[in-house]
Amino acid sequence: MSVRPGSLPVPGPRLQRTTSADTVACPACGRRFVGDRFERALRVCSSCGRHARVPATLRAQQIADRGTLDIVPITVADRDPLGFDDGVPYPQRVAQARAETGNDEVFTVARAGVGDVPAVLACMDFDFMGGSLGSAAGEAFAQACELAVAERRALIAVCTSGGARMQEGIASLAQMARCSVGTAQVANAGLPYVTVLADPCFGGVTASFATQADVIIAEPGARIGFAGGRVIEQATHDRLPEGFQTAEFLLAHGMVDMVVDRRALRSVLVRLLGAYGAHTS
């Protein structure tokens, strides 16, 4: 266990500096940031407030107490239950996602201290096949839950996903059940479970572990729901209300506990685990 003693909040992680003079642009307003300034601002635009997408490993670094992050390797055998081929065979699509993201699968799982409270972080990567929930992701999340129970840690899941992984068909649907077993075990063990919903979060992820938490935090502007807006428009010809399915819309409808700016996220998580982390060890 790598949690340090002491009652003061541990300072946040130091993001890697780059010496590159390249600039990156805010995906919303186009404002340009020199070097690593955008990364150091946690990928939040200082001009328009847009919360840009964060890869899973970087997300874990942003949340963990400095020096406590311990990535847990999760190896899951590749599965192709349907022999799915929609022009490109499914295993080839997975291989492509691995090459593009450098990740094995959707979830990065890590042990970490969060304000000195031992926690398991399960962070999703939207860039890996749209964060879709396949059997490997389901297994990773289930193992994250079991790790939390075995070592009596809080569970924090950062959720971002388009929903089920269509290429795994019905096996993908079953992952909603598998992940729900995990969250039930964490709840039965009396351990706190907090989710952070990042843009976008839809389908079977929202309809299972993303919303089975003690506390649901949404990031500003994140689009969250079950069915996507386009599907709803096509199916019902309803006009979508202003701000439909945004974090703020869901807050107003009582579906999330709070909308938290990413630059304040860590301190909110520290406070919540402080309040609810009594049964961790």
Partner: protein, 275 residues
Amino acid sequence: MTTVAPTTELAERERDAFARVELARHPSRPRALQVIARAFSDFTEQRGDRLFGDDRAVVGGPARLDGAWVMVIGQEKGVDAMSRAVHNFGMPHPEGYRKQQRLMRIAEKFGLPVVFLIDTPAAHPGVGAEERGQAWAIAESLTATLQLRVPVVSAVLSEGGSGGALALGLGDRVLAWENAVYTVAPPETCAAILYRDAGQRARAALAMRPGVDTAYELGLVDELVPEPWPGAHEHPDVAIAALRGALVRNLAELKDVDVETLLAQRLDRYRRAGG
């Protein structure tokens, strides 16, 4: 290397795959209320979620099966134009899932086993459903079912689509009529996601293998209930009798299992679900 089938043969296979979906959607297949009327007795419907409204896509209440009281909760598609509108084509809103949870709590309180009957293309995609937490309601149904301290048997009648079906799809035993389909999403939605064209639903149907035999192979369904040729739509009474027999037998097997064992087995089963 994969071998590419001649175009005509591929088109034929796509047509066959989608024909399975169409058979499962056949308007004459027995619906949940018909199954309840013919296989159960003394059904006493309870309505409303006590929070917002009554969703007629989900019907439920106590009923007797082979003499013993159970809580039966089903998705109802309707049988004609008017009843389809009333039951919203079997597509539940959050209120339907919250009514389900309410009835499950009553079943647990009085020790009644729960029987789910699944028949839905998907949970309703709509503005109101999203505003009132469709995803939250489904997620809660999953958690509630996994922890329910009475036996649960679920049966896929005809169409099981998406998380909207899975909310009633967890159980100690899951049965399905052999001509039913069980999919992660309706083939139309799957095509819209994969090919950005809902019109390619036949292509999606072939790729996703929608028949319940796939769910059976993957362990999400335990037993396929036979239908008389050419299907339950032609001989509903025979099909319903077979389903009734399977429900009675499975409930009898679960009746004397200690509740802690039941819960441990249920969690273990879904811990391994889908490989």
